[in-house]
């Protein structure tokens, strides 16, 4: 266990820990471009140079392991001067096109310029700058700008080490060096947006997020990715009711610090095809007030005999929402049969992506205490006329090998509680809009059986209601009892049925 001194303070770390990591544990932020805690050390940006006493040259803190008796200075004039010089080199040929660069606002070049450089360029003329390729599409999700690139090779190492598909490489030499995709390849391996995410400058940017919003307008909120059963921790960036992107949030138990492309883009579940107000009518929905919609739903459910009612749970929605529906269906409506609506399965890989594209299938199973029947069973029952009325949660409902809408159309009554259009709301007589996953608080149980609680990332929009609130109002109209008034009461009821919460979440 080497013991060393950094900026006058002693610290003891395990053998093999680098100086940059040791400094980070002490709260000292060492500037860096190329170093990434999850990637191998390249030590090519030279930004993390620190002074080690009895060592004639400055050393890269990302590469030097801590050793017994080391005395390290991370912020003395010599180090600062070295960093200033590095910044001058890096910015020499930089186009300074921050106005059109999506990275500006979260760009390390900007931050370190303000911290260490603050000088104007000594280049005689703008014309002397080395011109390189700009806005080169690397793949469907990522675009590359060679002039902004500082050649840290984080993206190269990410593809080689994490994705194990070394398709990116450095080409040319000196001022002219840049990153390129291997011939006949495109940057398309399911994690390509992570290259844009880890790019410390504006060289690799997301084509999806490109020019959509300046990052300083964004507000970040912690959430769980709703894209698949892995349940990666993420931050949702949003502004004025619109979501813009998901960013990975460090959770060493699940996703470490990565997110797949589908995950980054799953913010769209919040933006697209939303239901904004209650509506009535099958096929040709007419907007209605909450009063009318709830009365209509209550009347339709109330007139069907108990035995012919059923409830559809949703693997897209949180445990709390499913539990509220289960309680409402069992205690208020006397429903015995529960079915499960879910998105269709997709591709899986060895890293983060699960085949099950629903974030909470395991959670629904836990809430019901049994395996819910599949959608195909509901379609059969509907065709046979054994079930006439259904109260359904969630938008998407896939049934293996069957087009679900035709079967659903045989049902006399479908009351759909959903945040966006989909199979169930499209077949419904009454649509009651609730908040998207980002607008709700709750718990997802992932494929590994880990319960992860998350808060409301964005405010519930106008005209929307929480699921438990919708059910409570329905119960009031039906003169039936529903035990929950607030989200906290549902939460308390659900807590006991969940696995140990200690495994949930992770340090950001």
């Amino acid at each position: 266990m080497p013991k060393l001194t950094i900026d006058g303070r002693e610290i003891e770390v395990e053998a093999g820990v680098t100086l940059i990591e040791a400094a980070r544990r002490m709260g000292i932020k060492t500037p860096h471009f190329c170093w990434h805690p999850e990637l191998s050390v390249a030590a090519n940006c030279r930004m993390c140079l620190v002074e080690i006493e009895k060592n004639p040259k400055l050393q890269p803190a990302c590469q030097i392991p801590a050793a017994e008796g080391m005395v390290v200075h991370t912020e003395n004039p010599r180090v600062r001067e070295a960093r200033r010089a590095i910044m001058e080199y890096l910015l020499l040929n930089h186009p300074v096109d921050c106005p059109i660069c999506d990275q500006s606002g979260e760009c390390k070049l900007q931050d370190y310029y303000m911290l260490y450089d603050l000088k104007s360029s000594r280049l005689a003329s703008e014309e002397d700058k080395v011109r390189k390729r700009k806005h080169v599409p690397f793949g469907p999700h990522v675009v590359y700008d060679a002039e902004r690139c500082v050649m840290c090779t984080r993206c190269v190492r990410f593809c080689a080490e994490y994705v194990k598909d070394p398709m990116l490489c450095e080409v040319h030499r000196g001022d002219h060096s840049e990153i390129d995709v291997s011939p006949d390849r495109t940057l398309e391996h399911g994690y390509s947006l992570m290259t844009a995410h880890i790019c410390p400058v504006g060289a690799l940017t997301s084509r999806d997020f490109r020019f959509q919003c300046r990052v300083w307008f964004l507000k970040a909120a912690e959430t769980i990715c709703p894209g698949c059963a892995t349940g990666c921790s993420a931050c949702l960036d949003h502004n004025r009711g619109r979501a813009f992107r998901l960013r990975p949030r460090v959770n060493n138990a699940v996703n470490r610090c990565w997110l797949c492309d589908d995950g980054v883009l799953s913010y769209r579940f919040h933006n697209d095809h939303r239901l904004c107000s209650p509506s009535l009518g099958r096929g040709n929905p007419q907007p209605a007030s909450w009063e009318d919609a709830l009365s209509e739903a209550a009347a339709a459910l109330g007139k069907t005999p108990k035995a012919e009612r059923a409830a559809v749970l949703s693997a897209e929605r949180t445990c709390e929402e499913n539990w509220a529906l289960i309680v409402f269906a069992r205690e208020a409506l006397g429903i015995e049969r529960f079915f499960l609506a879910a998105r269709p399965d997709g591709t899986a890989d060895q890293r983060l992506r699960s085949a099950d594209k629903n974030p909470n299938r395991a959670g629904v199973r836990l809430m019901l205490g049994a395996e819910p029947e599949p959608m195909t069973a509901l379609l059969e029952a509907a065709t046979a006329g054994r079930i006439r009325a259904v109260i359904a949660l969630g938008a998407e409902a896939s049934a293996a090998g069957v087009e679900p809408s035709t079967g659903l159309l045989r049902l006399g009554t479908v009351v759909s509680i959903a945040e966006r259009t989909g199979t169930l709301p499209d077949a419904a007589h009454v649509r009651l809009p609730c908040g998207s996953w980002a607008q709700s608080a709750g718990t997802f149980v992932n494929a590994k059986g880990m319960a992860q609680e998350f808060g409301r990332a964005m405010p519930l929009g106008d005209g929307l209601l929480d699921v438990h609130e919708i059910l409570a109002r329905l119960a009031r109209r039906l003169d039936l009892s529903f035990p929950y008034k607030t989200a906290a009461e549902v939460r308390t009821a659900v807590a006991g049925r969940l696995p140990e919460a200690g495994a949930a979440g992770g340090a950001p």
Binding site: P99, S104, R214, F217
Partner: protein, 176 residues
């Protein structure tokens, strides 16, 4: 802590009102007669006919400057929108398609709205602009309109507004 108001001390001369009133009337009448007969000290400017010349840095309505080829200089960097304390600027960015002569600029304002009713004419947007794309050198006032939307100035209108000399290009020699 009680605060004792100091009362002014007045002698009998002042207390008797009359001499002081006469003195005061002397002041008013001096002004009166000087303005009626003799030179006029009136400071009033009869506005529409007589106009006080505006200072060269007068901040009027905004305009968006054009490049020599008529495209907007603005690159939709949103610096003005960020700097605006009245939150009256709204920009939607668009990107030039590949092969477009301006594709090297990449970005342009697909929509650019200024709510001149909300604008406080502080000029921070002009200060913030890195491209000299927004200027307030038009010398124009927000004119009275019949409906609020008429003062929601849109991109093409802003681009067509000229500076006081009738120029649609930038007036900044460093940016020419």
């Amino acid at each position: 802590m009680p605060y004792v108001v100091k009362r002014p001390e007045r002698d009998i001369w002042e207390q008797s009102y009359i001499p002081e009133t006469v003195r005061g009337m002397g002041v008013t009448l001096r002004h009166f007669f000087r303005n009626v007969i003799g030179r006029r000290d009136t400071v009033t400017i009869l506005y529409p006919e007589v106009q006080r010349p505006y200072p060269p840095r007068f901040r009027g309505l905004h305009r968006l400057t054009q490049r020599d080829d008529g495209s907007p200089r603005c690159t939709a960097c949103m610096c003005c929108q960020t700097a605006c304390p009245a939150e009256c600027i709204h920009i939607v960015a668009g990107s030039y398609p590949d092969g477009h002569p301006l594709a090297f600029v990449e970005k342009y304002p697909a929509e650019f709205w200024i709510d001149e009713l909300r604008c406080v004419f502080c000029g921070l947007c002009v200060e913030a602009c890195p491209c000299d794309a927004i200027r307030m050198d038009t010398g124009l006032h927000a004119r009275p309109v019949e409906a609020r939307p008429h003062l929601m100035y849109e991109r093409n209108l802003l681009l067509s507004i000229t500076d006081a000399k009738g120029d649609v290009l930038t007036a900044n020699p460093r940016k020419k």
